[in-house]
């Protein structure tokens, strides 16, 4: 029982961790590329890395945080222009080839010993060098978080029945959310949208309070980073929702389904694709910045594997949907940790040692990605007809 509790705690911790939120933001960007426009960007991790470098290097060298953010976004913007210019007029796989190669190049350059003063080479930039301006904005105080009458420790460490009711409410929220999403008119009107938003916020706050206390002090001011990270996820989701409902968003889908048809309407397909690539890339950069806030800027932790995780999360949740990236990222990271911990707990060491459980979880991720694409390309929330596009 203790083991199961341990595994579930681990999954919950991972599902709520700020890094999951960061990847969710990057996946939202990837959804604009892949889901809505049909661009195969296999270098989302490079957008993240560039955003993180832009932010971390400038704050490290004493520039204000706003400048850091601007530089991070600027780097991703230029990167998208460089990658898009030669490839967006060609068949889809050229973009794939160029992005995956460019992502590796960015990583190599970041690792280069020549740039140690800027990128910290392979060791990266430790979080303590750039985190302070962000943490000093916090109004959460040190870990003891009280919201109105509810004290964080009271609920999470309090009586069992409080927690049970809390969890039941969380599950109820999730069920209602998913049912409304499946019916497909979740956002039919302003009232509906507000209800959805309220449900999400209530659910997240419940999770906030129910989260076991011993995990609260992970990282530097863990809850502050979490709060901002998940807040940004919701904001990005809203932005994407508004974007894809606009005429511009309809153009994106049109390009995905039939480029020539859109061209025959007199639209500049190249320019719209470029806009999509840039906007998705900016989401990637934002994801990268959030990704490094609780950790450090490590070029090797933001390599192609991260891009592949983004794809798995996106396809799991459902490409070309609004909530697919969010759901997919949470499920993906929770499931990966679940697999890892289960393997560590129940498979004897002689067959699989601790390091190998990590690798085993990645093998499962790769296989899962194949299975999803083959058997359920629309993921959990998606619509199969939307994913029939081709190069």
């Amino acid at each position: 029982m203790d083991t199961i509790q341990f595994i579930l705690n681990g999954m919950m911790r991972e599902a709520l961790s700020p890094q999951t939120a960061a990847v969710a933001i990057a996946v939202i960007g990837l959804n604009i590329h892949f889901g809505f426009t049909g661009l195969i960007n296999i270098g989302q991790s490079a957008f993240m890395l560039l955003g993180a470098y832009g932010f971390a290097i400038s704050v490290w060298h004493g520039l204000p945080m706003v400048v850091g953010l601007a530089l991070g976004f600027g780097a991703a913007f230029v990167f998208a222009l460089i990658l898009g210019a030669p490839t967006l007029k060609l068949r889809g796989d050229y973009l794939a080839i160029v992005t995956i190669s460019a992502a590796e190049i960015i990583r190599y350059v970041g690792r280069s010993a020549l740039l140690t003063d800027f990128t910290g080479s392979a060791q990266g930039i430790p979080g303590s060098q750039y985190r302070d301006p962000f943490t000093s904005l916090s109004f959460f105080g040190g870990g003891q978080f009280t919201l109105l009458p509810f004290n964080y420790t009271d609920v999470a460490d309090g009586a069992a029945w409080v927690r049970i009711i809390g969890w039941v409410l969380v599950v109820a929220c999730a069920v209602v959310l998913i049912q409304r999403l499946r019916r497909g008119h979740a956002f039919a009107g302003l009232g509906q949208a507000a209800l959805m938003g309220a449900l999400i916020i209530v659910g997240i706050f419940l999770l906030f309070f129910l989260f076991p206390v011993p995990n609260q002090r992970t990282g530097v001011n863990g809850w502050w980073v979490r709060f901002i990270a998940w807040g940004l996820v919701l904001l990005c989701t809203l932005v994407v929702y508004l974007l894809v409902r606009s005429p511009w968003g309809r153009l994106l889908r049109g390009i995905r389904e039939d480029e020539d048809a859109i061209r025959s309407l007199g639209k500049n397909v190249f320019s719209i694709k470029m806009q999509a690539l840039i906007i998705g890339g900016l989401f990637g950069a934002l994801g990268g910045i959030v990704y490094v806030l609780p950790a450090s800027v490590q070029p090797d932790s933001m390599g192609r594997s991260l891009t592949f995780f983004c794809y798995t999360a996106l396809l799991l949740g459902g490409a070309a949907t609004i909530f697919g990236p969010l759901l997919g990222s949470i499920l993906f990271f929770a499931a990966r940790i679940g697999i890892k911990y289960t393997a560590a707990a129940y498979v004897p060491d002689s067959i699989m040692n601790n390091q190998q459980t990590e690798q085993f979880s990645y093998i499962v991720v790769g296989v899962a990605l194949m299975l999803i694409v083959i058997f359920r390309p629309q993921g959990i929330l998606g619509n199969k007809r939307e994913l029939r596009f081709n190069v």
């Binding site: 899962a368 299975l371 083959i374």
Partner: protein, 439 residues
């Protein structure tokens, strides 16, 4: 019609399930010895209030043990360290700032000279800063001329180009016949090297027998992949983008299967150090020479087969226009099956030779050269076998020559990328490609 469809779906399901079971089982079966970690010398871990400086004292002949170094801080306080068996030393510091590291020449062996006996290192918390000395034996002459360097790098470039060509010809043929960009191709290269390690280093087979086995096993994996995965997916009508993502999933899974089996370390195919030959300014290992020879012979054979044999002509026909080829009686599926088999065999051979030439292979070595492979294939023209050959040679030369011509060594892969982007801007179909493939 309906029932046929169902049967097909089932076949896909069974095939895919089989492959996936194989993938999941692979790490359990691959009980290769995971080797003891290398003996670690006293370790310095940088932390929030600890800085490290470290280095290795070695000549071109090998590391030097028991060399004394003194580290002086700003205030003049001295600390002394001695290098370990492996020539390594490190020192933990509790203050940031400039430190002067001085090597004690008296503790060096007599025939060893050091170019500059003291260097200044800027220590910072949380990082390990290197302090490296240029130590040489007296016999060593560092004054190779620029021309000699160019010649040596050209030879290295051709060597790399030939090895890349082995893998990229297959990649290009697969693209030509099926339209698929196979991102898992690089893992096949790694597989070749790792199988070489398993057969030759672990099982003690001779290099030639082991090499032939590697090619056979890799070819079989190609045949098997097409049988259980790609052919069923083609029949099912899965789009090319979706298939491409399947290759990405496969690549991720395989990488970690490799890491599961051998760990993150670099393994070598042969334990002994290779012998070296010298021709004028060029120094090259004998293994490299043989590897280049084998590559040329194999590439020539592939080229001959493509141009002169029936099946080769059929392959080019399918590559040119699958529908037309199919209509004129060519068994497209058979051709594609053969292309997969040969391509994977070639990639495996390339990986084995790569492991021999570069003295080792790691779980992600293939992924590192994937970028060069794609650059080569795109440069030559996606889908053209001879374009891939040409592109590989160009990329190989660019990568090896750019450091000589002033590009910092860390950025040599970036040069390949730069060339690729420039070429796509002016001639997107590649050097030997036809424009109709692009649009």
């Amino acid at each position: 019609m309906k029932s046929q469809h169902v049967v097909r779906e089932r076949r896909v399901a069974r095939g895919a399930a089989g492959l996936i079971a194989a993938l999941l089982l692979a790490p359990l079966l691959a009980l290769m010895s995971s080797g003891a970690a290398q003996a670690v010398d006293t370790l310095c871990l940088p932390g929030p209030d600890a800085a490290c400086i470290a280095g290795t004292v070695r000549t071109e002949d090998g590391p030097l043990a028991d060399v004394k170094l003194t580290v002086t801080d700003e205030s003049g306080a001295e600390q002394e360290v001695t290098t370990s068996e492996t020539g390594k030393w490190n020192l933990q510091l509790d203050k940031e700032g400039p430190y002067v590291v001085k090597i004690d020449e008296a503790s060096l062996p007599d025939d060893v000279v050091v170019a500059e006996d003291q260097i200044t290192v800027q220590a910072a918390f949380g990082v390990t800063k290197p302090a490296l000395f240029d130590v040489r034996t007296e016999a060593y002459s560092a004054s190779t001329s620029k021309v000699d360097e160019l010649v040596q790098s050209t030879v290295n470039g051709i060597r790399l180009g030939l090895l890349l060509a082995l893998a990229s010809v297959g990649l290009s043929l697969i693209y030509g016949t099926t339209g698929l960009s196979n991102f898992a191709h690089a893992e096949q290269v790694t597989l070749g090297g790792l199988l070489g390690y398993f057969f030759v280093n672990q099982q003690g087979l001779s290099l030639w027998v082991g090499g032939i086995l590697v090619v056979i096993v890799c070819s079989f994996t190609g045949w098997f992949q097409d049988r259980v995965l790609w052919q069923p997916l083609r029949r099912r009508g899965l789009g090319l983008i979706q298939m491409m993502i399947v290759t990405i999933g496969l690549s991720l899974a395989l990488q970690y299967v490799f890491q599961y089996a051998v760990g993150a370390r670099t393994v070598r195919v042969e334990q002994a150090n290779p012998e070296v030959s010298t021709f004028g300014p060029v120094t090259i290992t004998n293994q490299s020479l043989v590897a280049m020879g084998i590559s040329i012979v194999v590439l020539a054979a592939v080229g001959y087969a493509l141009l002169r044999t029936r099946i080769g002509r059929a392959t080019r026909a399918v590559s040119d226009n699958p529908a037309l080829a199919s209509a004129s009686g060519i068994d497209t599926d058979r051709v594609i099956r053969l292309v997969w088999t040969v391509a994977m065999g070639l990639a495996g051979l390339s990986g084995l030779l790569y492991a021999l030439v570069t003295n080792g292979i790691k779980w992600d070595s293939g992924m590192q050269i994937l970028l060069l492979l794609f650059a080569a294939v795109t440069l030559g023209g996606l889908g053209t076998a001879f374009g891939a050959l040409l592109g590989s040679l160009i990329i190989g030369l660019v990568v090896e020559l750019s450091p000589v011509l002033g590009m910092p060594g860390d950025f040599k892969y970036a040069t390949a990328m730069l060339i690729l982007i420039l070429l796509l801007l002016v001639r997107p179909q590649g050097l030997l490609g036809k424009p109709q493939r692009v649009g």
